[in-house]
C-alpha cells in the first residue's frame, strides 16, 4: 500500500492529466446510464420519470414478439460484420499504400480526398446515391444499364442490389477516416527495420507482409474489439436515408435502429425506445467480452483487458 501511494505521488501530475478526459467520460457515458430504469417504466407526463409506474419487462415485449426480430437482428449483425471486415481491409490497404507514396504532398492530398466523404451528412449522401439510382433520370440507368442493353432498373424496389450498394456507400464514407489510425501506427514503425530488410534484399511485398502488418497487428485487434461493441447498432442514416426509406427494400435494409424508429415514431413512448436501446447495449457489451476472451485465448498479450 505504502509503495503504491509513493508511486501515485510520484506520478501525481500525470494522473491529474487524465482528469478532464475522465470527467467527459463520466458526464457523457456513465451519467446517462442511470436512464436505464426508464426501460422498465410506463412514463407519463404527470408523474415524470421518477414516479411513473414500474412495468417490469412489458416494454421489451414489442421487440421480441414481433415476427421481424429475426430479420432485423440478422440484417443488423451481418451488415455490421461485413462493414467491419470490408472497411478494415480497405483501410489497412489504403494506409499501407499511402505510406509507400514518396511525395509527402501527394500522400496528404490523397488522404484528404479519402477522408472528405466522412464529413458529409447521410442525408446529403442519400441524394448523391439518388442521383445515381433514380429510375427515370438516374445516372446508372442512363449509362451502364443502357450500354448493357438491359431494361431500366427500379433500384428502390429491387432488394438484390442493396447489400452491395450499402456496403459500397459505407466503405466510401468510412474507409478514409479508418485509414488515419493505421497511417499513424505505420508512421510509428522504426525505419531501421525497413533498412535492415532492404539490405537483406527483401522486396516491397515482403516488407509489407513481414514488417508493416505484423507491427500494426495490435492496433488492428484493439480497433476490432472496440468495433464488436457496435455490432448490434447500425448507422441509422445509412439504413434509413440512403434507401429512401423504401418499403420493398426492408427485407434487406431493416435494422434494429430503423425498425424501432418506424415502429415507435408515432407512439412517442420513451419507455419502449429505451428498452430497445438497452437490449442493443447489453448484447454489444456481451460481444465485447466474448471477443476479448477469444483474443485472450489465442494470444494473451493482445487482449484489451
Amino acid at each position: 500500500m505504502q509503495a503504491r501511494w509513493k508511486l501515485f505521488w510520484k506520478y501525481r501530475y500525470l494522473t491529474l492529466m487524465i482528469v478532464p478526459a475522465l470527467a467527459v467520460l463520466v458526464l457523457n457515458n456513465y451519467l446517462p446510464m442511470f436512464g436505464v430504469f426508464i426501460a422498465f417504466k410506463n412514463i407519463n407526463y404527470i408523474d415524470g420519470i421518477w414516479r411513473s409506474p414500474w412495468v417490469g419487462f412489458d416494454n421489451f415485449e414489442f421487440l421480441f414478439t414481433s415476427g421481424s426480430i429475426w430479420r432485423i437482428a440478422r440484417n443488423t449483425v451481418s451488415y455490421s460484420l461485413v462493414f467491419m471486415i470490408v472497411n478494415l481491409l480497405l483501410s489497412v490497404a489504403i494506409a499501407v499504400a499511402i505510406n509507400e507514396i514518396r511525395s509527402r504532398w501527394l500522400a496528404k492530398t490523397y488522404q484528404t480526398f479519402l477522408i472528405m466523404p466522412y464529413f458529409l451528412s447521410m442525408v446529403v449522401v442519400s441524394y448523391l446515391v439518388y442521383g445515381f439510382l433514380n429510375p427515370e433520370k438516374g445516372f446508372l440507368n442512363h449509362t451502364v444499364v443502357e450500354w448493357l442493353g438491359m431494361e431500366r432498373v427500379f433500384w428502390y424496389s429491387e432488394t438484390a442490389y442493396w447489400p452491395y450498394i450499402l456496403t459500397i456507400v459505407s466503405a466510401w464514407k468510412g474507409v478514409g477516416i479508418g485509414a488515419v489510425i493505421y497511417i499513424a501506427a505505420i508512421a510509428g514503425i522504426d525505419p531501421e527495420y525497413y533498412e535492415a530488410a532492404v539490405i537483406d534484399g527483401a522486396s516491397k511485398w515482403r516488407q509489407i507482409f513481414h514488417i508493416t502488418l505484423p507491427t500494426i497487428r495490435p492496433v488492428i485487434i484493439i480497433i476490432t474489439i472496440l468495433n464488436m461493441g457496435h455490432v448490434f447498432n447500425s448507422d441509422f442514416g445509412l439504413f434509413y436515408q440512403v434507401p429512401m426509406n423504401s418499403g420493398p427494400l426492408y427485407p434487406v435494409t431493416d435494422t434494429v435502429d430503423t425498425y424501432v424508429y418506424r415502429a415507435l415514431k408515432e407512439l412517442n413512448d420513451i419507455g419502449m425506445s429505451s428498452a430497445a436501446a438497452l437490449v442493443q447495449s447489453v448484447l454489444g457489451f456481451a460481444l465485447v467480452l466474448l471477443t476479448n476472451a477469444s483474443v485472450r485465448k489465442i494470444d494473451k498479450d493482445q487482449a484489451l483487458f
Binding site: 407519463n44 407526463y45 414489442f62 427500379f154 428502390y156 415502429a263 407512439l267 412517442n268
Partner: protein
Amino acid sequence: MDIKTKKRHIPALALVFAFASMLQACAGGSGDDKGASSPPASSAAPSSASASASAAPSESAAPSELAPYEVSIVYFGKPQPDDALVEAKLNEFFKEKINATVKLQPIASSDYKNRTELMMNTGEKMDLVFTASWLNFFGNVSKGAFVELDDLLAKYGQGIKDRLNPLYLEAPRMKGKLYAIPTNKEITQGKALTYRKDIVDKYQIPIDSINTMADLEPWMAKVKAGEPGIIPYYVAGGSGNFGGGFMMYETRGNYRPIGPAPAKTPMFLLDYKSSDEMKVKSVLDPEIVDINKQEVGLFRSFYEKGYINADAATSTTTVNDLQKEGKIWVQAATWKPGADIEMKLATDSKYDYVSHVVEEPIVTTDLAAGSMFAISRTSKDPDRAMMVLNYLHTDPYVINLFVNGIEDKHYKKVGENRIEPVADSGYNPGTSWVVGNQLLNYLKPGQPDDLYTSWEKFNNEAKRFPLMGFVFDEANVKNEITQMTAVVTEYQSIFTGAVKNPEKLLDERNAKLKSAGIEKVQAELQKQIDAWRAENKK
C-alpha cells in the same frame, strides 16, 4: 496467476459500483431540486406598474387584481422575422386587458410534433399549446400532458362557447372531460378531385361524372397524349403524409376509417350508413381485402401505362410545388367551401381550379379535433391562458394582429373586412387555420365576401359520423399497434403502383398484420365502441 488477477478486479468492480450508486444519488437529488425550484423562477416579482388605469370592461376579473403573467403560446407556424414586433403589439393589448404578456413560440411544421413532445417529456413550462388529432393529441392526453378545461371554459371562455358550433366541443374529450378548444373554422372536410380549370375546358372533361379513380383513366390517357409536361397522376409515396389508397374505401362504399391508423393507413373501417350494430371491419375482412386488391391493381396498371410518376415509391416533392410548375392537372384534395380559391392562392395564383366532391363531408372526432389549443399541465396560470384564448376567439383586432400582422406594415386595409397583404413584409406565418377564430380573419384578395357565412352554413349542415365523440384508448394494445405500424410502413408503397405484384404483397402484408395482432386490436376497438354506445345511448 489468472486467479490472482481476477481477485484484484473485485475491489475495482466494487469501486465502480459504489461510484455508480453515488452518482445515482446525485442525479436523484438534482432531479428533485429542479422540481422544487422551478416554480419561483417563473412567478415574476410583482411589478409596481401592474395595471394601466383604464379599467376596460372584460369578461374576466379587472386587470388590477391580476398579478402580471407571461402566457407562452406554442403553435404550428414558421418563425417570422417580425414576430417580435407583433408580440410587442399583442403585449400592449393584453397588458391593458388582463395584465398579461404573451410569448410567441412558433415551431415549423416538420419539427412540431417532435419538439412539442420533447417539451412535454421534459416538463418545460408552456401555457397554450397547439395540438390536433393528427399530432397525437389523444395519446398526449392519456399521458397527462394537458389540463381539463370544462371549468375554465365556463369561467373565462364564455365568448368561445357562444361562437363555436357546439359539435366542436364534443370531439376533444377523453372520458367525458374536455382537454382542448378547437379553432373555429370549417368543422369538417369532404374529399374531392380537384382539376386545373384550363385543362378541363380544353378537353371538355365531364368532371361531375368522375367519381372514382377508375373513371379518371380515359382522361389520364388523353392528357398524357396531349400535354407532355404534365404528370397524369402524381403520387408522393416517400412523403410522411402518404397513407396509401386515398379515398378508396369512400369511393367504393360507405366505409370510413375508425380507430388506430398506423402511419396514416386506415386499419379499421365502419360502414356509417349501415343500420347494424356498428360492427368494425378490419383490413383482413374479405370485402375490404377485395376493395384493396382492386385499388392496388388499378394503380399498378396506371403505373405500367406511365400515368403515375416513375419515382412514385420514393418521391417527397409536394403536390403544391409541382402545381406551381404547372405539372399537375388533377389531384385528390380535401374540400370545403372556397377550397378552389384557397388552392389558387397557395400556388402563386397561376391557375384556376375546379373540384368535384366525391366524398360527403361528415364530422368525425378526428376532423373536428383537427386544429386546437390545449393548456399544458406545466402552465402556472391556466386561468390567464384561457382568458388569452378567449380574446383570440372573440376580438377581431387581436386575432388579425396574430395572423395578419400590423396594419399598414404587413397589410393594407382595402375594405371593412378585407385586406391586401404587403409582399415580403416580414410577417406571413400562415396561421389562419391554427389560431383562435378564423371566421374573424380579414378576407384576402380572391376570397368571396360570403366565405365565412358559407362556412357557418357548411358547419351547421354537416352530417355527424355516428361515432362522433368516440376516442380509442390504445393503452391495452400498445405492443400490437407498434408492430402493426412497422408492418404498415413496410408495405405502404404497394399503394403507389411502383411495386410489382401488389396483390401478392397485400396478402403478405395482411398475414403479417394478423401475426402482429390486428385481431386483438379489433376486439379491443369493438369493445370500446360498444361501451361508448351504451354509455351515450347511441
